[in-house]
């Protein structure tokens, strides 16, 4: 006997069968003397069995062709040729002046949309990035609380982009005010002390929009919207240098 008191967590771990044998034995002894707890544990175990049995048939169903992994892989292999041409065509468009003009046009539409977001991100950069004393309210060391805090305020799960692969370390972040509600701002710096800002907030309009460049003053950036959330990455580096980082932020926000 370890004499450690039995906790609520122990009871659940007992139900799920994940306790060490010695601890499970202690819980069993405890339950003998505590009929109320024993009744709850029995009920939770029944629940667990019932759920597993009720859902088991789904896992036994034959897989439809759309979930046949070999087929999916095969399908992807056949796709690259056409995809490549689409990418090439888009590249040529954006190199040409027309592409730039179209993008600028899309950024000037709808006041609550991407254009507003880009402006908010650029403004936040100008205010906070030059601050040498307190550029962020919560530091990187408190990143878990930071994410929790901004997720609560934005009422959306917010992911903290990891830009170490691009040479930028997280400094921390803060909540900022926009006329479209609260937004989360994360700040990063590289070995030379150059700073980047990633801003995100829920979008009332333009809930999904392709990535578009924006610039003003001595900062430039990229803004886009995905699944109802808008993003903008802003820095003083050249647009060509920021683009792959923006792509990385977008990739991370989309996956896992």
């Amino acid at each position: 006997m370890t004499n450690r008191p039995i906790t609520e967590d122990d009871l659940h771990a007992y139900v799920d069968g994940v306790l060490e044998p010695e601890r499970a034995a202690e819980v069993a002894i405890y339950l003998e003397g505590h009929p109320d707890a024993a009744r709850r544990v029995a009920a939770f175990s029944d629940q667990r069995d019932l759920l597993r049995k009720a859902l088991a048939p789904i896992a036994d169903e034959p897989l439809p062709p759309q979930l046949d992994l070999s087929r999916i892989i095969e399908h992807r292999r056949r796709r690259p040729a056409s995809l490549w041409w689409a990418v090439a065509a888009m590249l040529m468009l954006s190199i040409g002046g027309l592409g730039g003009w179209v993008m600028r046009g899309s950024l000037q539409n709808s006041p609550g949309g991407l254009a507003a977001l880009a402006q908010e991100a650029a403004d936040s950069y100008s205010v906070y990035a030059p601050d040498r004393v307190r550029p962020v309210e919560m530091r990187a060391s408190d990143s878990a609380q930071l994410v929790q805090w901004v997720s609560n305020r934005l009422k959306q799960p917010v992911k903290l982009p990891d830009l170490t692969g691009s040479g930028y370390r997280l400094m921390g972040g803060r909540l900022i005010a926009t006329s479209h509600g609260p937004a989360a701002m994360f700040m990063y710096d590289d070995d030379r002390g150059d700073r980047l800002v990633v801003m995100t907030r829920p979008m009332a309009s333009e809930q999904s929009a392709p990535m578009a460049p924006h610039s003003g003053g001595d900062v430039s950036g990229f803004a886009w919207a995905d699944g109802g959330m808008g993003y903008s990455l802003v820095g003083q580096a050249a647009a060509e240098a920021l683009k792959p980082i923006a792509n990385e932020v977008r990739r991370q926000a989309r996956t896992i």
Binding site: E8, D9, H12, A13, V15, D16, V18, R40, A43, F44, Q47, R48, L50, L51, R52, K53, A54, L55, A56, P57, I58, A59, D60, E61, L63, P64, Q66, L67, L69, S70, I72, I73, R76, A144, Q148, S151, N152, K155, Q156, P157, K159, Q207, G227, G228, T255, I256
Partner: protein, 175 residues
């Protein structure tokens, strides 16, 4: 490549089960799983070594949350009634089928975040630590949600929950 096939394929039935228990619609669930598999293939090199199950569930779960968020934006909720009767317990005998249907209806009334924890832990056998990773929450939060989910489901089963019958799955995005 074969390594990828061999590691992902055995998990697909469980991914389908989790998706369908979350969204309660066969077609929507299978679309989510397909999307999950596509992403898993294209990001295979970015996974951590070891058991791919938590990683696959993480991808699927995030896709499901996005799906919830999008349908919430459009104001389109997936009503329980939308779930095809045949979607559950097809091969069970009639009486069992009703009992299973009943517990799944009650499960659907749990808040989405509690339902996800209960499914990952009690049905999919993920460890508490892996469930915490999938949901991106501290393990303490996993335990408290698990506890609340079980208490609430038990109240529903014993019929002691408050009489308001809500026929619509709560679509809340998760913290």
């Amino acid at each position: 490549m074969n390594d990828m096939l061999g590691l992902i394929e055995p998990v697909i039935p469980a991914l389908r089960r989790y998706a369908r228990a979350l969204v309660r619609n066969r077609a929507t669930a299978d679309d989510l799983v397909q999307d999950c598999l596509e992403r898993a293939i294209s990001h295979w090199n970015q996974r951590r070594a070891g058991d791919p199950r938590p990683w696959l569930f993480t991808i699927l779960h995030n896709l499901a949350v996005n799906q919830f968020r999008r349908s919430a934006y459009r104001g389109k909720h997936i009503a329980i009634d939308d779930a095809n009767e045949d979607d559950f317990g097809q091969e069970a005998v009639q009486e069992q089928k009703l009992m299973y249907q009943d517990v799944l209806d009650k499960l659907a009334r749990l808040p989405e975040d509690q339902r996800a924890v209960l499914l990952l832990v009690a049905v999919e056998d993920l460890s508490y630590a892996d469930a915490a990773k999938v949901l991106d929450i501290p393990i303490g939060t996993v335990m408290s949600r698990l506890s609340r989910a079980r208490e609430k489901l038990q109240q529903e089963i014993e019929g002691t929950a408050d009489g308001t019958t809500k026929n619509v799955v709560q679509l809340r995005s998760m913290k």
